[in-house]
């Protein structure tokens, strides 16, 4: 037991994780491309036309995946920030910092694609509806986390302050998720539920799930790439950084 704990703590050292992340990134890019291509193929060439929404419903193949990712990434970010706060592990806080911009992009794309879906179906780009408003708050939470991090010069203090913001913001996640049940909203209910059979054609479901997997892999690849930059920025004067092959092999 203690052996395995030690083993995992070894990976929490930036010096160990930096080269590992470098080797993992291409794998996640390939997976993202494969899942994304398969999802788009099914979504745009195989899935049938929707009975009520015609071809306009095809926005679902990006809208639902980015919306799921916006919530999921926030949860992961808050967990890493919380671990960094409690265990004082540097890499955990850097992970949270690396996830925030990608999460913010997912929240933005969720609102953007939602607006382009809302216009033809509801007749409006935006409405102050519970689902839409809570998703907008999620975007602001991401931006607040990033701004707070950037506004405090000492990185460790910035980690602590932004971790508390991230943890408090978690309360918004169930609000987003259950908003379509708790309030009367214009937004339709969940398309996919763990408790009942999906209310859509199998191919539509597959397209959505594959696109979600693709976005998941994309987010990991992107967060790891950003994490490597953050590690170097923060550990600039560490001994292991000066011995990096990227820095020593380059001809001057």
């Amino acid at each position: 037991m203690s052996g395995s704990v030690l083993h995992w703590f070894r990976f929490s050292s930036p010096a160990t994780f930096y080269p590992i992340a470098g080797r993992l990134i291409p794998v996640f890019w390939v997976l993202a491309a494969l899942f994304g291509a398969a999802g788009l193929w099914i979504g745009f060439f195989i899935a049938p036309t929707d009975a009520t929404q015609g071809e306009g419903y095809r926005i679902i193949f990006v809208h639902v995946p980015v919306s799921w990712m916006s919530m999921f990434l926030y949860l992961v970010m808050a967990i890493w920030a919380g671990i960094g706060l409690v265990l004082n592990t540097r890499l955990s806080s850097m992970m949270a910092q690396a996830l925030a911009p990608t999460g913010a992009l997912m929240a933005f794309l969720s609102l953007w694609t939602g607006a382009f879906w809302g216009k033809p179906m509801w007749g409006t780009w935006w409405v102050w509806d519970a689902r839409l408003t809570s998703e907008l708050i999620l975007l602001f939470l991401y931006l607040g986390f990033m701004a707070l991090q950037a506004s405090i010069d000492d990185p460790r203090r910035a980690d602590k302050a932004s971790a508390i913001l991230a943890l408090v913001g978690v309360v918004n996640l169930p609000i987003i998720y259950f908003s379509v049940i708790w309030w009367n909203t214009l937004h339709q209910g969940a398309s996919v539920s763990l408790t009942k059979a999906p209310s859509m054609a199998q191919t539509m479901l597959w397209g959505m799930l594959l696109m979600s997997l693709g976005y998941w892999m994309y987010s990991i690849a992107m967060a790891l790439t950003r994490l490597r930059a953050i590690i170097l920025e923060r550990e600039a004067h560490a001994d292991w950084v000066t011995r990096l092959p990227e820095l020593t092999k380059v001809p001057r």
């Binding site: 745009f44 060439f45 195989i46 899935a47 049938p48 036309t49 015609g54 071809e55 306009g56 095809r58 926005i59 990006v62 809208h63 980015v66 911009p101 990608t102 992009l105 933005f108 794309l109 953007w112 694609t113 382009f116 879906w117 216009k119 033809p120 994309y218 992107m222 790439t225 950003r226 490597r228 930059a229 170097l232 920025e233 600039a236 950084v241 000066t242 990227e246 820095l247 380059v250 001057r252």
Partner: protein, 59 residues
């Protein structure tokens, strides 16, 4: 295959102005994010290399 022609595919049953900006934004923003992150990584690598050169001169 559910489409008879490229025109039909691009028209998206009349929803082209809503479907394509959604898909396009996802592709474009993903690409922009990748460029920004790679630039950030290259910037710090360049800075570290300059610092190493400066330090060597001093020693």
């Amino acid at each position: 295959m559910i489409w008879d022609s490229l025109e039909q595919f691009l028209a998206m049953g009349g929803y082209a102005v809503y479907v394509w900006p959604s898909i396009g934004a996802c592709f474009l923003m993903g690409f922009v994010e990748l460029l920004m992150v790679r630039r950030r990584h290259n910037r710090i690598l360049r800075r570290l290399m300059q610092e190493m050169v400066a330090n060597e001169g001093r020693e």
